[in-house]
Symmetry: C2
Subunit: 339 residues, 2 copies
């Protein structure tokens, strides 16, 4: 759906981690907007938020805020999006949903702008789903390789940050680390100086929901039902950037130097691969940045010559893993209109 | 080499992390000994150490301590072991070396007692090498599966603790976490709330030394030059237990239930695989324990039916990853004598 050059923007869930990050990005990227309306739960209504030097009051969620809106970001729960996203569409807005509600809906494009942002389906769409954080971060890094030589199989082990579990999980982690300083341990399941299998429900196949998302969403974004993925998702005591160890089986051979060159010119990717200094992607380096950092690029000799490649990637979970990707979807729509 | 039932024991490097753990284990396991001699660098000489209620003075390293010794544990550096281990052998002792000095020496057995402790080579050996921590922990978990159906390929991503980097690295981690409590960041490379590629030198093949150890040592311990391994070794902000995400390609098919049953009766393994409670191996659960915890046991459907299996394991780096394995090698030698 076309967007005006200066849209009226609504953010649903403006006081959550992703909503706040989206606000910061609107300002940082000088996103052109005519007006912004900030919505949250009744409990958060009245919160004052600064945007470009102007104080904005967060209002309690009400569908009337969709009247005259051009662009609505849902940064609320899946249930909330399922209940209200279509009302925003019917009010005439382009809706970008950060939740998992519509990601597997075949009528709703699931978009990573660098990969599948410029398709007729996306141009026509009035509702677009923003993929899961670990999916976006992996695919931005692997897509250039897939385009060049094809990817048959990925074995992915994640090192995921607390931010994916929301503000409460970040707080639990820092509280526990601080309690440790005075000989305590803090409240909640052990997280500081610990790690645990991703805290999402596990199905009868033994996969947790995060792992299933990585598989299913990748198939949709790449439009490739054949891609084989073995994922293990783990929460580590890190604040806001996810890392992923990725082992690829390539369709056609690719050597390590060519892989590095491909990645160096890939959109949304910064190669950080300094073997002499032992300097590679880390959460602290990725945090607050836009690009997915890619390093440890090396041939995997446990596979036939040229067919195996290993990578280690890091990306900010709240930015490229959520708010930034959503905003880039909107930016691409505005640019498409201009173009 | 046969050991007497109550050997005279020497610990070289008795004040280091592994040496201290070994002392604790001697007491905890009521290891039968006639006498213990504790050696360390001149700087640590004079340190008093308690063992079974008796205070022992640590002495400055001197080869004369090998006179009359039956069993010498080297818990010092590779360089130190290379310089002095053969002197202990020549003095008539069985030497167990924790360093990497002799691990790739084809005349020196590299031993995980549960896997290859009872071979004629080990029985004859006067010098035995203790494998690298991440190798031991992975192989204790995977060996029962290998014995049953064969393992063709392993893709391993590690989540390694600070203890592998010694006391200074553990201190750096806790200091940084504590500094964070007062708004600081602490000294050294960012580690608290961060993670980084394993801090060992990287070769021209792009593999770091830790990854090379995992590959080479596995081939020796399993006596299998064909096993294919893709390893990615990562240091996470955890104190003393390593976790590893392991994806296997099996030679013959094995279903998940049979894999779980095999592991439940395997030596040195505790299965912790509660999907309903989302309770799996974690560093805090593995720390201070003897067994390697194994969970997230599940079929990997990205491989041909029955041929793919994924696991997540955790093991105490200082115990099974170092001191305990070394002590178990000695215990097995004493038991063999009795048997």
């Amino acid at each position: 759906m076309p967007l005006p050059e200066r849209p009226v923007v609504v953010i649903v869930g403006a006081t959550g981690l992703v909503g706040r990050e989206l606000l910061a990005l609107l300002e940082e990227r000088r996103f052109p907007l005519a007006e912004v309306r900030l919505l949250a739960s009744a409990a958060s209504a009245g919160t004052m938020v600064d945007l470009d030097g102007t104080a904005h009051a967060v209002e309690a969620f009400d569908r009337s805020a969709f009247d005259g809106a051009d662009l609505v970001f849902f940064c609320s729960s899946g249930d909330h999006a399922r209940e209200h996203a279509h009302a925003a569409v019917e009010a005439g807005a382009l809706v970008i949903d950060n939740s998992s509600a519509y990601r597997m809906d075949q009528t709703v494009p699931l978009v990573v702008p660098e990969i599948n942002g410029d398709t007729p389906e996306v141009e026509r769409a009035r509702l677009i789903a923003n993929p899961n954080c670990s999916t976006i971060i992996a695919l931005v890094a692997v897509n250039p390789i897939r385009l060049a030589v094809g990817v048959e199989r990925m074995v992915v082990s994640t090192y995921q940050a607390a931010s994916g579990g929301g503000r409460a999980m970040m707080q639990m982690l820092t509280d526990q680390a601080h309690a440790h300083a005075t000989g305590g341990s803090g409240e909640g399941r052990p997280y500081a100086f610990n790690l645990f299998s991703h805290d999402s429900p596990i199905g009868i196949d033994g996969q947790n929901e995060e792992e299933r998302k990585l598989v299913r969403e990748t198939r949709r974004i790449w439009n490739d039902s054949e891609i084989r993925i073995a994922a293990t998702c783990v929460r580590v005591p890190v604040l806001r950037a996810h890392c992923e160890s990725i082992n690829l089986t390539l369709r056609d051979p690719l050597n390590e130097d060519d892989a590095r060159r491909l990645l160096q010119s890939a959109p949304g990717v910064t190669v950080l691969d300094d073997r002499a200094a032992n300097r590679f992607p880390e959460p602290v380096t990725a945090s607050g940045g836009d690009d997915v950092l890619v390093g440890r690029i090396r041939q995997d000799t446990s596979q036939p010559p040229g067919r195996g490649l290993s990578l280690f990637v890091a990306g900010d979970q709240l930015r490229k893993g959520a708010a930034l990707n959503a905003l880039q979807i909107a930016e691409q729509r505005i640019a498409a209109l201009r173009g």
